[in-house]
Amino acid sequence: MSERTRNLIYGGLIVALIAVVGFLIATNPTEADRVSRLGASIMCPVCQGEAIIHSPSEMAREMMDLIEERVGQGATDQQIIDELTASYGQGILLDPPVSGPTLILWLAPAIALVAGIGAIVWWRRHPSDPGDPTAAPAGRTRTAVTALILIGSAAAVLVAVTSFLQDRDETALGVADLQVEDLDEVSNQTLEAVIAANLDHPQISGMRLALADRYREEGDYRSAFPHYFAVVESETSDAGQRVAALAGLAWITWDGNGEADTALGLLDRALEIQPGSVPVRFLEGRILHCSGQSDRSERVLSDLLQEPSLTVEWKQIVSDELAAVEAREVCA
């Protein structure tokens, strides 16, 4: 057999094999793969940097179920990711976005590769003049400049990292240094990070509560939910925190999902912990009002108004609400 025939046989064989193997790979039934691939690229919002596919948390489970459902309905990856980020924010993406500052992250490796190839090509085309004694002084100037640039950039990195270290000292990811009154100045993301990094810390419930309240005020009930829930379930929460979290949960359950009964059940649990709590009873009256159970609402609110310990502010709020109920106004 001539070399040419052999080449043809091998070449043909290789092309045919690549085609067959490629076809088999491309037609691999991928439904299950898509679910796990998506699950692996989304971070569980309540755990520390774990993908939802690996996380045992309730919330991660729900998110996985959603993905499975959507894949079943034929949604594209992007649609599913958009739906999830709409509810839980961009922070859940394990992949940094290919836009904004993280674009650098995606471009840098490509630039490095191109620069590397360019350097090799340039290096092969430009043989330097070996042993040219006059090259040395010019070389010296160049090296001095190089050294200056190096020192400058090193100094810049040092300054940046040192300032980062100091930053860390102040806002420290440790909970101990985060005073409750400081919380206003801390961004939601930072709080999330602090919480994620200190899940077992005894003071974490206060922080979760603050964050959840903030989400609730922003109308982001979906983000608020897991934190309220965690405060209720946590062994380290005190009674006041648990009651506040139950009240928060009740409100978003009603306002977000319209489930009045569930909400009232949560408030009952809160009242078991702190019988007679004014905010809880007021909330009960308000949810009853808003869900159209005006009679019950009237009863709850007028009972509350009889309470001797009521502060002036609360008296005002409660009587305003009671007036609205009695007038059968639609709740605002």
């Binding site: 091998y10 067959v20 193997v21 691999n28 940097g49 992949d95 590397g116 050294a147 940046a160 270290l165």
Partner: protein, 673 residues
């Protein structure tokens, strides 16, 4: 008493290092032959004394030393009490110092055999690095501080003066639970440190050569042993670390692109690039400047790695310690980078005369491509690890850069590297026609594709797995064909048996063939990773006593919960009876371990390892009603991954051994035997 001894040891080593720098600089400048043996011996003796003091203190439970009060407990069993010596920051620097002293001794023995300026200059650089680390031990990371305010367990305040009156706690806190859960954790740090610190040797020779203006190939030749031993241990350290993570850490993986894992992987990648490009310079005199860049980068990355591990800057599973050491290490890193590259730039004109690669279709051409890919790989890991920190420092935004980012970029780079591993070794030095290379790889390519086809038809059509199989079999076939071809030519000449011929061939060019052994290891690692990442199954179940589940062919029955007390820990777990797919039985006991002084337990998975794959069971929760939540995983053929990792390291060690054997006759010649 022991604090005294330890402090004296550290001080002696520091003084030795300073003397070494002073005297070695004199010799390196060619201004006379000062005695270097004394300072080197002082460094070695000092560091050994301090480590001995630490070990004796651990054996005697001497809690007057703050480090012991905070990291050791009377109940800590062997071998974890020994390993406690490097379980936390100060101790790990102590170990670093000891290993550095060992490598300094190695450089010194080479110098003693043939004293010259280059050897002395390298010793001076080793001395500078030693001054830094022993300096750390006398200032910000003093392992022998005396406890002056004891808590019930542990120490609240300590004094650096060994004569301070000690307030001795009754017992210590004990090491971090994660660190006393598996034997691997006791040996992983020393292995890794042998790798990290070993990279000081080529760095020292490189900087030494630049400093005395004799860049040639001599520094490469001298640092080969150091580089090989460092690279082999670094490989072994990374593999053992991954294995430990798999056996102990609750996330059940072996690699999570955790910053601290990345910190060990980056110098490995650069050192691997260096092993190859050093060969190019030795064979063809090319890439002189590039080799300096690689060696300096590899060393700088080890310092960066120490910074990442020990400063607590990046919150991660490995950041067990936090301290003021961060800025100091960062300062040293900047000093190393600026100092080395300035020196490099000043001497640049001396290196500019190297020949170029004429023909890219040549061994050196493939090495060039390999270096490009490896350094881009290292760069990807570097930017992925450091970018979030830098971005947060500049803008205050936190971004998570995690597994998917690294996987997305490292998988194509790894595939390209595998392809090169198959092509490079069959491509001759100096240049070849593309036809020759094609002739050598077409058969292996067909073999790889057929293997891929079989995999797709019989096992899985998962693209990643199939591609890995194709490339893996291609590499092995290509290397195997080369070996069989060479052995065959030998046989036709000598008429010996195939096995004997193969043995002869591999012995004849032992250096090349140990490299190929490492390549086979890399293939196995790639296959192991690909199987584990794409073919594993995962399920979580809630079980009551007596419940039975069927998972991936296993029938698993929850028999009973149990509690056990061991010295130094309490375990609570469940007993599971497993009927394997082949009908044989095994009992698995996933547990939670609790250690005195540490409120949170550590989950220890139970792993049933078989050739076909592992059944991995982790106990997530066990409540008072004896209801258990259990995570079940199968990882097909995990052993391939560990075997591969060990094979990579074995190739390195074999190459090191052969290098020694090659040198022995050379020495005999030199003395005129």
């Amino acid at each position: 008493m022991l604090a005294f001894l330890g402090t004296i040891g550290v001080a002696a080593a520091l003084i030795g290092a300073i003397l070494l720098v002073v005297r070695a600089s004199v010799v390196a400048r060619g201004k006379g032959g000062a005695d270097l043996a004394g300072p080197v011996k002082l460094v070695v003796a000092g560091s050994m004394t301090s480590m001995a003091a630490m070990q004796i203190a651990l054996a005697l439970d001497d809690f007057s030393i703050a480090y012991l009060a905070n990291n050791h407990a009377t109940a800590t069993p062997f071998p974890f009490d020994v390993a406690t010596a490097w379980a936390a920051l100060e101790g790990s620097i102590l170990l670093w110092g000891l290993v550095l002293a060992g490598f300094t001794w190695m450089v010194f023995t080479a110098y003693r055999r043939a004293p010259d300026r280059l050897g002395a200059a390298a010793l001076a650089v080793m001395g500078i690095v030693a001054i830094f680390f022993f300096g750390l031990m006398t200032t910000v990371a003093n392992p022998f501080e005396v406890c002056v305010a004891a808590a019930e367990r542990g120490c609240l305040d300590s004094s650096p003066f060994p004569w301070a009156t000690a307030d001795v706690p009754i017992d210590g806190r004990g090491p971090n639970p994660l660190l006393q859960n598996h034997i691997f954790m006791a040996i992983h740090p020393p292995l890794l440190y042998l790798g990290y610190v070993g990279l000081t040797v080529p760095f020292a020779y490189a900087i030494g050569a630049l400093a005395i203006s004799v860049p040639g190939a001599e520094w490469l030749r001298r640092s080969q042993r150091g580089t090989l031993i460092a690279w082999s241990f670094l490989t072994l350290g990374i593999v053992i670390g991954a294995w430990w993570a798999y056996e102990v850490l609750s996330w059940g993986g072996y690699w999570a692109w955790d910053p601290v894992e990345n910190a060990s992987f980056m110098p490995w990648l650069v050192a691997t690039a260096f092993l190859h490009s050093a060969l190019v310079q030795q064979r063809r005199g090319m890439l002189q400047a590039w080799n300096f860049v690689l060696v300096i980068s590899a060393f700088a990355l080890t310092i960066l790695g120490t910074f990442i591990t020990r400063s607590g800057t990046i919150a991660s599973v490995h950041s067990f310690t936090q301290s003021a050491i961060g800025p100091t290490l960062l300062g040293f890193l900047v000093l190393v980078l600026v100092g080395s590259f300035t020196l490099f730039a000043q001497r640049g004109h001396l290196l500019a005369s190297a020949p170029r690669v004429e023909n890219m279709v040549s061994r050196e051409g493939t090495f060039l491509a390999n270096n490009l890919l490896l350094t881009v790989f290292a760069f990807v890991v570097l930017i992925g690890t450091m970018f979030p920190i830098i971005l947060e420092a500049v803008t205050g935004t936190r971004v998570g850069v995690r597994g998917p980012f690294f996987n997305r970029l490292s998988v194509p780079l790894s595939f390209l590297l595998l392809l090169l591993v198959g092509i490079g070794p069959v491509t001759p030095w100096g240049g070849a026609t593309p036809q020759l290379v094609w002739k050598r790889i077409r058969g292996p390519l067909v073999a790889g594709l057929i293997a891929g086809l079989l995999t797709a038809v019989t096992v899985t059509r998962n693209g990643w797995v199939v591609i890995t199989v194709v490339l893996g079999v291609f590499v092995i076939a290509s290397t195997g064909a080369l070996l069989v071809g060479q052995a065959g030519r030998r046989r036709s000449k000598t008429g010996e048996g195939l096995a004997a011929a193969i043995a002869r061939v591999t012995k004849g060019d032992a250096r090349f063939w140990s490299g190929q052994l490492s390549h086979v290891g890399v293939v196995l690692v790639a296959l192991g990773i690909s199987f584990a990442a794409n073919l594993s199954q995962h399920q979580e179940v809630v079980m009551r006593e007596g419940d039975q589940v069927v998972f991936a062919g296993h029938t698993i029955t929850y028999r009973a919960p149990f509690q056990q007390r061991h010295p130094g820990k309490t375990s609570s777990g469940i007993r599971l009876e497993v009927v394997r797919p082949n009908g044989s039985r095994v009992t698995l006991e996933p547990t939670h371990n609790f250690f005195p002084g540490h409120p949170n337990g550590v989950a220890t998975p139970a792993v049933d390892t078989r050739a076909s794959g592992d059944l991995y069971v982790m106990l997530l929760t066990l409540d008072e009603n004896r209801v258990a939540t259990v995570e079940l995983d199968t990882s097909p053929m995990m052993w391939v991954l560990w075997l591969g990792g060990l094979t990579v390291a074995a190739g390195g060690f074999l190459s090191y051994r052969n290098r020694r054997q090659e040198r022995a006759p050379a020495r005999a010649e030199a003395v005129g035997v």
